[in-house]
Symmetry: C2
Subunit: 346 residues, 2 copies
């Protein structure tokens, strides 16, 4: 276990600030006294953009590299044109720091509401590719705004990029009791990218004889997410399909208020970044209604990534216990954070 | 009401043949005696491909043009490499006949099973673009099969293509009691295509002041499909997002066995094509387990498209009544078809 922790904090917009505060509260509480925690806040997001026109200047990108990990709240505000902060800040970080494993666990905790009848057992993790696919910003628009406009979006997929994330997913599947890995794509239509994914998935699979494999088209996968989510263990998929599937996964496992994620660079060349799957929810910002649990669970992913396994587990157990005792009465963002900070206290 | 009906039938693969037989049975039964029904079967699909290597020869494409409409069962078999029949037959038809409106209604009928707790009211229709987006087959693979492979998929979007489908969706929304239209895209990441869609959606909307509009990112839309499906009335979206969302919609409204679709060319320049949303389900082919209801509801869409409004309504009422009386005991494909044929009989 490391003796120090140097975290960059990007609270971002809307409820981002509120939930990150709770994440840090729990982080401070869970760490052993002798681990030196340093945090540096970075003022990035909608306000910064309005003030200076900047999304992520080079100097800050450079500075961020010096941290062990990044904790991010949420990015985005209706006052900023759609895409500016997403592409200029959030995705820029994921790409610059080569976060090729976007890890999104989904678990239906006891005593949490699911829209699904019959409460199936749900405990799977989506390994979403984070640096390729339709997210690369390749594309353009010709004769913009005229009746003759043509707009393209190019999905880029490389053997290099697919193999490394597929391998990571096999490793994760192999380490879990059920050892099952499902590839989700749409290789009956997106034949070039789809066949690249499928071929690599099959080839790498030969090195993991104990892992059971399965392939689903993305459309069919959404059906199973609601009719038979218990069939999934580890899922590996493309950047865009992963985006769609993990919101759906969050919805069926008690909502976006509980969904954590890690943007991971497994090589350690750059800091990994941890963030709730939810957005900045400007409609409830400042009301104390935001559930910080997703951020707190993201802190657990951060800790595990940096080798603090026991602390990560303590947070997850605390969340599980806290959820089990929820009786439906309203608690503020701060109250939930406080309760969890107490539970994890060293 | 026309006095004759000249239908091309493509049973296709697996359960396609079985469900199409029931669709034709109901079609024959519902039509007034004095309407002359002619059907021509086209042998296309996996068997044909194995026999001759052909998916859709020019001569047959030509011949299909001579019909009032096409009824299709399902295409696809595990013995055929993924993509061959999808691209070479199904999508070829949709593109050659400029089926730019892929119409997919979703309704939760009484007494049908939904995986959602609390049985929300669901009655919406997805207008999926059918001739553009990532479905155009633009893309390629370089250094295929090597560690240096690069594969691309290009999503093509034109103002021409987007405006016509958006306009169609506004017309449909305007004709429904709730008059609500939701655009689903991902314009915070796919900024070029997304902004094209959003700009046209906003501009055309000015011509429909009574229609309430809404925009959702595709990931957020999947959440609402399971937590709040009653919020949707008409949805307009891109080809790939529409593919994904309509399978999810089918799942929450009683399953893929009930989901109908029409690939429509609203100009009438080419025949429109009607098909169940489900696939060929080779695992249950020949067992009598396939539910022909989706195909029979597709026949209703076909009839309405050709001006047989009363007959279409009769089929929909018959399905509703049949579902209301289902007691969970097993009925074969043929038995369900028979029961519906009796109910709609003129
Ligand atoms: C905000 C957006 C760019 C982002 C994405 O699409 O990846 C979000 O939806 C997510 O899932 O983290
Ligand atoms: C079979 C496949 C090509 C097709 C599609 O992706 O459009 C199917 O999933 C559908 O929804 O009709």
């Amino acid at each position: 276990m490391p003796r120090s922790l140097n975290i960059a904090v990007i609270p971002g917009d809307g409820i981002g600030k509120e939930v990150v505060a709770q994440g840090l509260k729990v982080l401070t509480s869970v760490l052993p006294q002798d681990v030196k925690l340093e945090t540096t806040e970075y003022d990035l997001g909608a306000q910064r953009w309005h003030r200076t026109g900047e999304t992520l200047p080079e100097a800050e990108l450079e500075a961020l590299k010096g941290h062990d990990a990044i904790l991010l709240g949420a990015i985005g505000d209706p006052s900023v044109p759609s895409g500016v902060l997403e592409r200029g800040l959030l995705l820029k970080l994921r790409f610059a720091f080569d976060h090729y494993v976007n890890l999104r666990p989904s678990k239906l905790f006891p005593n949490t509401a699911t829209p699904l009848a019959g409460r199936p057992e749900i405990d799977f993790v989506v390994v979403r590719e984070g640096t390729e696919g339709p997210y690369t910003g390749n594309g353009g628009s010709l004769r913009t705004g005229t009746p003759a406009e043509v707009a393209t979006e190019v999905s880029l997929n490389t053997a290099y990029g697919v193999e490394r994330v597929v391998r990571d997913a096999y490793e994760r599947a192999n380490a879990r009791p059920r050892k099952k890995l499902t590839l989700v794509h749409k290789n009956n239509v997106l034949v070039y990218a789809g066949h690249l994914w499928k071929n690599i998935f099959d080839r790498v699979g030969q090195e993991y004889p104990e892992v059971t494999t399965d392939y689903l088209h993305v459309d069919a996968a959404t059906i199973f997410f609601v009719t038979q989510p218990e069939r999934f263990d580890v899922i590996v998929t493309d950047n865009l399909f992963g985006d769609i599937l993990t919101d759906l996964a969050a919805a069926v496992t008690g909502g976006i208020g509980l969904a954590a994620s890690g943007n991971i660079n497994p090589t350690g060349a750059f800091p990994s970044m941890f963030e709730p799957v939810h957005g900045s929810a400007p409609d409830i910002a400042g009301t104390g209604k935001a559930d910080p649990t997703a951020t707190i669970l993201s802190v657990a992913l951060l800790l595990r990534h940096l080798g603090f396994d026991a602390e990560a587990a303590r947070i997850e157990e605390a969340v599980s216990a806290d959820l089990a005792e929820r009786d439906g009465s309203f608690r503020t963002t701060d109250e939930i954070g406080d309760a969890l900070a107490v539970r994890v206290a060293d």
